[in-house]
């Protein structure tokens, strides 16, 4: 088994949410260094809510300042913070009943890493971060005795949108069949898997034949030709979404390699225009020199034949395959 890179990627999405008539003022307050609760009959709810949590009746926005001091009514100590926690050192999470509020806010308490400093009934005080974005993460709490005086400059416009960049980090080895496929590319070979039930050859293999519901292993693997036929293509005009690295239009195509039953999708063509592409066109892989090949873009879910292993795909000059004969593979 070749030793290749482990998969390590972070899937991120920037979420933007409208804030509404109650959360909006609450987040505006945090940006401006104040904590607001929502009146609900004789009570004040913090975190504020748009409805009475007992009757579910809608509450008219009626916000009142609470805190900045409060009392811990429940707590737990985070010995190993996650990447998404407010602190990268051990800290306490607590239910904090802010002065003037009747419900509790869940938030982080920084005791300088000391769990002994946490207790039910302890007094804490809000501290605001230097950089505030209209998010609940603009604030955190410290033991009252540790609180610093802060002068907070209010912002201008009310907070009507709150942004939250979510991220999921995935780390794992390449699955065995993915590792063999990737090693094949480094060796200038395209490795497929032949179904023991139907004889169909899939490239890259997924470790199973989903048509016959049978697992496949190394003994089912075959080297396939690096010459094939274009079965589909398109021009991509990169939209500048979060994380986009492409800036110029380019061609992406699917190629059915000779002797296989499933096209390899997502092959990028940089030296031909979309006008020069045809379904049925015969193409050959021109590999990079071995020392220039890299498969680090391949993970367990994405990456078929990346540009980091080939110099280009060039037309062979053979007659086209009639498109009609490729209908089964048009993807």
């Amino acid at each position: 088994m070749p030793t290749l890179h482990d998969v390590d990627y972070t899937l991120e999405y920037p979420y933007t949410r409208t804030t509404g008539p109650v959360i909006g003022p609450f987040l505006t307050g945090l940006r401006d260094g104040r904590i607001l609760g929502q009146r609900c009959g004789d009570r004040v709810l913090c975190p504020p809510m748009e409805f009475d949590p007992d009757t579910f009746a809608t509450l008219e926005p009626d916000l009142v300042e609470v805190g900045p001091g409060g009392e811990v009514v429940n707590w737990t100590w985070v010995a190993e913070p996650s990447a998404k926690h407010p602190f990268d050192r051990p800290f306490g999470f607590a239910f904090i009943k802010l002065d003037g509020a009747h419900t509790s806010l869940v938030h982080a308490v920084d005791t300088g890493g000391d769990p002994e400093a946490m207790s039910t009934g302890m007094r804490v005080q809000a501290q605001f971060r230097d950089e505030r974005h209209g998010s609940v993460a603009d604030v955190y709490f410290v033991p009252e005795a540790d609180a610093a005086e802060q002068v907070i400059q209010p912002g201008d416009e009310p907070v009507t949108i709150t942004e939250h960049l979510i991220g999921l980090r995935i780390t794992e080895p390449l699955y065995p069949h993915r590792a063999r496929f990737a090693q094949g590319l480094l060796d200038g070979k395209i490795i497929g898997q032949r179904s023991p039930v139907t004889g169909k050859v899939y490239v890259p293999g997924r470790g199973y034949d989903n048509m016959s519901r049978v697992l496949m292993s190394e003994s089912d693997e075959v080297e396939v030709s690096d010459v094939g036929t274009v079965v589909a293509f398109t021009e991509l005009n990169p939209v500048q979404y979060y994380g986009q690295t492409e800036t110029e239009p380019y061609v992406r195509c699917s190629i059915l390699f000779d002797g296989t039953d499933q096209p390899v999708i997502g092959i990028d063509i940089r030296d031909m225009t979309v006008d020069e592409m045809r379904v049925g066109m015969r193409m050959r892989c021109i590999w990079r020199d071995p020392e220039e090949r890299s498969v680090t873009d391949i993970d367990n879910r994405y990456g078929n034949i990346p540009e980091t292993v080939y110099a280009r795909f060039e037309p062979t000059g053979e007659p086209d395959i009639p498109a009609d004969e490729l209908k089964e593979h048009s993807w």
């Binding site: 899937l11 429940n74 239910f95 419900t103 199973y208 519901r213």
Partner: protein, 355 residues
């Protein structure tokens, strides 16, 4: 208790071991389970009327990961298929409800999850309130810590009680070939371990697990045709509490109480309870909310503390109970699944043997 239009039974089930790390794809993990249950009922794949799966894209770390999982269930030519972004126990719920219509006979249910590649604490913090909780990464383990602290503060449990749940679970798992952790642990030694999420220690929390489970359920006539020993689903119900933990009494589970009433839990003996005890204090809360006493064997499989493939773990409780009933360990019991942090949402399923 709600009366049923159709009697429904479990006719086949399969689960993977709880893996610390399954080094292949989620479909490759599910496929052997699906093949096993289809073989058990001796049906052609395409004669199964409805297919439903439970999984979580945030856990898989890929948008539309659940679509890839369809590779495992034999979906070509196309089948009538659905998915819930929940534990497979909720897929079972939907399958059960679907059979009540009376127009189809069989449902293939599956649940799967791989916790090992990612961080379930980060992924599942996204289940929480997106304005006031998710941005500070409020994670399930933290919420379990709050629940544990609340129990202690109320005088309803001690850290020793938690350790006793852990020790009993690990001892029970010694006979379970699917368990990831098992063995004889001393309560005193457990209490000597450092805190991971004070007042919880590492073994009060679940191991990181990958796994899958599948079953076939059928309407009564078909069930008798397909197997000699159907296990009957007498009732199933699920209820939910507030997503604001500070508005809940964390020492109780009102939603589990309501579900227990709705399924008529105590209308008959409760010989076995397979509970989704993801954190040890949850067993104490569930025993109380479900009114379980010494007559009930709780988590004879060892439960999730000994193997916890999220999204399969609830369906696995149903399977463990069905297996125990088939083995004659009891005649009637309850399986419990949970979703959301600190037992926020609870599903109960009452099973009975064919006796």
């Amino acid at each position: 208790m709600v009366s049923l239009a159709e009697d429904v039974a479990i006719v086949a089930f399969e689960q993977t071991p709880s893996h610390a790390h399954f080094n292949d794809s989620e479909p490759a993990m599910i496929m052997p389970c699906v093949n096993s249950v289809i073989e058990q009922v001796g049906m052609d794949r395409h004669d199964i009327d409805f297919t439903i799966a439970g999984s979580c894209d945030y856990l898989s770390g890929m948008p539309f990961a659940f679509v890839m999982n369809i590779d495992a269930v034999g979906a070509w030519p196309p089948v009538y298929e659905s998915h819930v972004e929940m534990d497979g126990a909720w897929a079972l719920f939907e399958g059960f409800v679907r059979l009540q219509s009376g127009d189809i006979d069989t449902v293939l249910v599956s649940g799967s999850g791989k916790c090992s590649p990612g961080s379930y604490r980060e992924g599942f913090s996204l289940q929480t309130d997106p304005y006031v909780h998710a941005p500070i990464g409020l994670d399930p383990r933290t919420q379990a810590g709050f629940q544990a602290q609340a129990l202690i503060a109320a005088g309803k449990a001690t850290e020793r009680d938690f350790a006793e749940v852990v020790a009993r679970s690990h001892a029970n798992a010694k006979d379970n070939p699917y368990a990831q952790l098992s063995g004889d642990l001393s309560v005193d030694e457990l209490l000597a371990e450092p805190y991971l999420q004070q007042p919880l220690r590492r073994l009060d929390c679940p191991p990181t697990s990958d796994g899958a489970a599948a079953m076939v359920i059928a309407r009564a006539d078909k069930a008798r045709e397909l197997c000699d020993n159907p296990v009957w689903i007498r009732a199933i119900d699920h209820r939910i509490d507030s997503h604001h933990p500070t508005l809940r009494d964390l020492t109780d589970s009102p939603s589990a109480r309501i579900a227990a009433d709705r399924v008529g839990l105590h209308d008959g003996p409760v010989d076995i309870a397979e509970l989704t005890v993801t954190y040890s204090p949850e067993e104490i809360i569930l025993r109380d909310a479900l009114g379980l006493n010494g007559e009930t064997s709780v988590n004879p499989s060892g439960g999730p503390l000994t193997g916890s493939p999220f999204m399969a773990v609830g369906l696995t409780r149903v399977i463990e109970l069905a297996r125990a009933i088939r083995n004659g360990d009891g005649g009637r019991g309850v399986a419990h699944a949970s979703s959301g942090p600190a037992l926020q949402q609870n599903l109960l399923c009452v099973l009975e043997g064919d006796g």
